[in-house]
Symmetry: C2
Subunit: 343 residues, 2 copies
């Protein structure tokens, strides 16, 4: 089959790879109908050291089950399913706590012999724990929103949940990428009435306003933080940090109200952060982490299916599998917000 | 009157200072009967740059009200009272949320014309919001425990509360100083059954075991973290970081179970901490901060008065006011765990 392989910074190729086959009785084969490129795929695209043997990439997909292992009970061939971006057994002590990203039998697509999501098909380990059946549909707008359940929408939701967002919470969202916009949507869905979106790309922040942002702050760093404080008085209860840079973390810690919570869901591109006395004196909490998307899909699904939220609007470009390298370029150059791939 | 003044590292003196007088109608004058030296006083004692005009020091005290301003209603002359280590109005938006350390009318002893606690008397601003009346007693053992309500016991409690300690929580406490031992006591009081105390001073860890620690780990750093994981499998749900060094924070982040919470209550002696991808991947939360002692006193008081907890056992030396410089030396040299001062 054809699948996406990365060989180093700037070098993404769509090549022939072995067809996936069932290996474990708990596996399922999924024919991918919709996949996409993640902001986190851009980090290796920007900085991965060159490798001889490329690495499979992509971790967001939905598709149709083709074949299941002998022990799989929850999905069957022909089912439309979405795959959260980490596979998990949904039964271990961490899964039972809703922390599927720490599943003792879980893992990541594109590593250890598991296919990446940007390809024609994927062998999904722990299929019963991982795959969530969806109502059959041919509605491409709905399918785009369903695809966001694999990562970007639950990731925004995870930021909002771990930051304690609710009806009486004021919120700052840092970053107008797809995760930031989904975090706005998630915060609004959880009842937040005041949502300040920090971003400086008008086309993106405009969508953020449609998703529920009440204020947009284009300034960054200390200046941006000052502007948020000016707007909100003492900062906001919740800060959803959806970028992953040290500067974004520092901004988040600055705009949190005393006693507030900064939740980060962008993969940290730093080892050290400014968590010193200023944060301590104000009792600001740093929370979040890699989102256990699997834990949230059932909760978010009805609102997506019934059209109360339309997270699929973050996709502003659709391409075929062979155009994936161009999709990476477009996202890296900020010509596209988020690229949907139809293999 | 006589009071303690610090002039720089290693230079603490007890000198004559002006007698305190009521300034605001919300003030009270408190004759200090019991004060003490805090682990956080040792940071300036170790590193404060030399100053010409010394600075008053000390922030933990209990005593008898001598005089109150015209607007004070909650305490009257003759009352035995304990003062939390930050004064606060107990009515502002932060106080109502239990975050008295961010009170908009609050502040610290020893600065801005407010007396320090290591002296004969203190003018207490925001007396109604700050001072908590105590049942009269002459029992010195009980008075020592009541004194801990000003800081060290609520600080340990704050660590436990913000880390979410409860009956099903496993806990690591980092640090066998007075705060660490009080954190053990607080965690046990909140129902934790497994409490690993990281400390290497047997006299202190022995008291920690009496307070409720089930395991003691003497190793530090990576070795200590490995030992805690060995004992607990995957680390503990809650980590109470009661030291304040970057190493202690790093250890805390290592011994937290995925999804766990590290709460720090020792004043950070660092600007940058290791909050990078390893913490993110495991969804570990960093919380805590300066403890709003005032928020907890009513809750903790009955257990202290009725002897169910005896946090005053952290005091292993009692001195007079003139001996305060020697008290600092003894604590800095780890000859004393915590020094009680009777002016």
């Amino acid at each position: 089959m054809r699948a996406t392989v990365i060989y180093g910074a700037g070098d993404v190729r769509v090549t022939d790879v072995p067809d996936p086959k069932l290996v474990e009785p708990t596996d399922a084969l999924v024919r991918v109908t919709h996949s996409c490129i993640c902001g986190s795929d851009l980090w290796p695209y920007k900085s991965m050291p060159r490798v001889e043997e490329g690495q499979r990439i992509g971790h967001e997909f939905l598709g149709v089950v083709e074949e299941v292992g002998a022990e799989v009970r929850g999905v069957r061939p022909g089912d439309l399913v979405v795959a959260p971006f980490v596979f998990s057994d949904n039964t271990c002590e961490f899964c039972r706590e809703g922390l599927h990203t720490s599943c003792v039998n879980g893992g990541f697509y594109g590593t250890d012999g598991v296919d990446g999501g940007q390809g024609e098909a994927v062998r999904v380990p722990q299929a019963d724990g991982t795959l969530v059946p969806l109502p059959p549909t041919g509605d491409e707008e709905l399918l785009a929103s369903l695809l966001t359940l694999s990562d970007v929408f639950p990731t925004g939701h995870h930021a909002a949940v771990t930051a304690g967002v609710g009806p009486r919470t004021t919120v700052t969202v840092i970053g107008d990428g797809a995760v930031g916009l989904c975090a706005v949507l998630a915060a609004r869905r959880l009842g937040a009435e005041r949502i300040v979106l920090m971003g400086r790309h008008p086309a993106r922040t405009d969508l953020g306003v449609e998703f529920g942002a009440t204020d947009v702050v284009a300034e960054r760093g200390a200046e941006g933080a000052a502007r948020v404080r000016e707007l909100t008085g003492r900062g906001t209860h919740a800060v959803l940090e959806c970028v992953g840079t040290e500067e974004a973390l520092a901004t988040g810690l600055r705009v949190a109200r005393p006693g507030g919570r900064v939740s980060r869901v962008g993969v940290p591109q730093y080892e050290q952060g400014s968590v010193g006395p200023a944060m301590f004196r104000r009792n600001v909490t740093l929370t979040g982490g890699i989102a256990p998307a699997r834990a949230y899909i059932e909760e978010l699904l009805p609102d997506v299916v019934e059209g109360r939220v339309r997270p699929g609007r973050v996709f502003d470009r659709t391409i075929g599998l062979d155009d994936v390298p161009g999709g990476y370029r477009a996202m890296a150059d900020r010509e596209a917000l988020k690229v949907l791939v139809k293999p």
